[in-house]
């Protein structure tokens, strides 16, 4: 995980986050900032954005599992089979297989063959 730069204004009215251009997070973040006696509170949630490789192409995703990734990419109920990092992931395990940054995912379907 890369370093996150942040600054809070003294008045607590503005929040500026400076993130590296290619910031990639590997898990869900939630931070609560509060102004102490001045009574304000800000909850900042950052969905984990993973960079993975899908069928040979880099992709950024907020999906946590392989099943979520398929939905996010629009495969829906398509007849596909999957592999992660070279290993077959059966349909029943897509819900439980959690993604990590840098994973290579293969999504295949029936095709003509000799």
């Amino acid at each position: 995980m890369r370093r996150v730069h942040r600054s809070l204004s003294a008045a607590g009215q503005e929040l500026t986050l400076y993130l590296p251009r290619e910031a990639v997070f590997s898990w869900q973040h939630e931070r609560i900032f509060s102004g102490g006696g001045s009574g304000w509170e800000l909850t900042l949630r950052m969905a984990a954005v993973l960079e993975v490789v899908v069928n040979g192409e880099r992709a950024k995703t907020r999906a946590r599992t392989l099943a979520e990734l398929l939905i996010e990419l629009g495969y829906g109920e398509a007849k596909v089979a999957t592999a992660r990092n070279g290993d077959f992931i059966p349909l029943r395990k897509r819900d439980t297989v959690e993604l990590s940054g840098g994973d290579t995912i293969e999504i295949v379907s029936p095709r003509q063959g000799g």
Binding site: N55, A78, F88, P90, P110, Q112, G113, G114
Partner: protein, 279 residues
């Protein structure tokens, strides 16, 4: 040729009385033509070619699918509608690991434990990597697959594949897509005679119906081909031609062919030839 006669008995015995069926992994097949599904001008032509060939087994593959494509789904529906068995391949796999993962994905997609196992050694010849093939076959058999290994004529590799649990072998005729026919008939004949009871399917390199007939006459149990039909001027007619050639070759093998001789022998009776004793 004497060896061929021995094979004939073995084959007829295996095929049972009255029927000449090929049994692979418990499945009884009447057609001895396995047909590939790639490179046809259209799905419609493929569909008609499969019917014209009378084939009962078609090969298929798995390939990357984009989210917005629905090609896989459409292809699957078309194949399912043909009512034939599907034999998924691991075409293009270069390592044992790739081949195993591909076979596993294919098993889930096509709902079959049959797999045509290809582990490719190099791009120019697409020849099987026999070491990887034997290793992958062992793993897949343990995982419950029924492995159809795409191999060469090598007897040592053949023995190891059988020891690994393969119940049939698919030696190449010539490199995939070349259409050269049986590049090494002597080695193929040796393989046939060495394993008289093992179903052997000549896979790849077949270009003409005569090549397929030749393989069947030699006693091979079936032929698997794709390009020769798909790339023909009229794939449907060519599928029919291959079906006929394979039936002819098979019938000839079972009938038992005459011995080849070096010197001529008259077929018309010599006795009673007019003018025979006039010099």
């Amino acid at each position: 040729m004497t060896d061929t006669m021995i094979d004939t008995k073995a084959n007829v015995a295996r095929s049972g009385a009255g029927r000449d069926a090929l049994v692979v992994y418990g499945a009884e097949l009447t057609s001895r033509l396995f047909l590939g599904t790639a490179q046809y001008p259209s799905p419609y032509v493929l569909e008609r070619a499969v019917k014209a060939a009378g084939t009962e087994v078609v090969t298929v593959s798995v390939r990357r699918e984009g989210a917005r494509e629905k090609g896989g789904q459409r292809f699957w529906e078309m194949i399912a509608g043909l009512g034939v068995r599907v034999l998924p391949n691991t075409a293009g796999c270069r390592t044992v690991r790739e081949a195993i993962a591909t076979a596993e994905m294919a098993r889930e997609l096509f709902d079959t434990d049959w797999v045509k196992l290809e582990v490719i050694a190099n791009d120019d010849t697409l020849q099987p990597d026999l070491f990887g093939l034997v290793e992958a076959a062992g793993v897949l058999v343990r995982e419950g697959f029924k492995v159809f290994p795409y191999t060469t004529e090598d007897l040592g590799a053949a023995e190891r594949l059988l020891a690994a649990g393969c119940e049939l072998l698919m030696p190449w005729g010539a490199p995939i897509g070349t259409g050269r026919g049986l590049a090494n008939p002597y080695a193929l004949r040796t393989l046939r005679n060495y394993f008289p009871g093992v179903p052997l399917v000549v896979d790849a390199g077949i270009g003409a119906p005569s090549h397929a007939a030749q393989a069947m006459e030699m006693g091979f149990d079936a032929v698997l081909l794709n390009t020769a039909v798909a790339k023909a001027g009229d794939p449907v007619a060519m599928a029919e031609a291959f079906g006929a050639a394979i039936r002819a070759g098979r019938t000839a093998f079972v009938a038992g062919m005459m011995e080849v001789r070096d010197m001529a022998a008259p077929s018309t009776p010599v006795a009673g030839t007019p003018f025979f004793d006039l010099k």
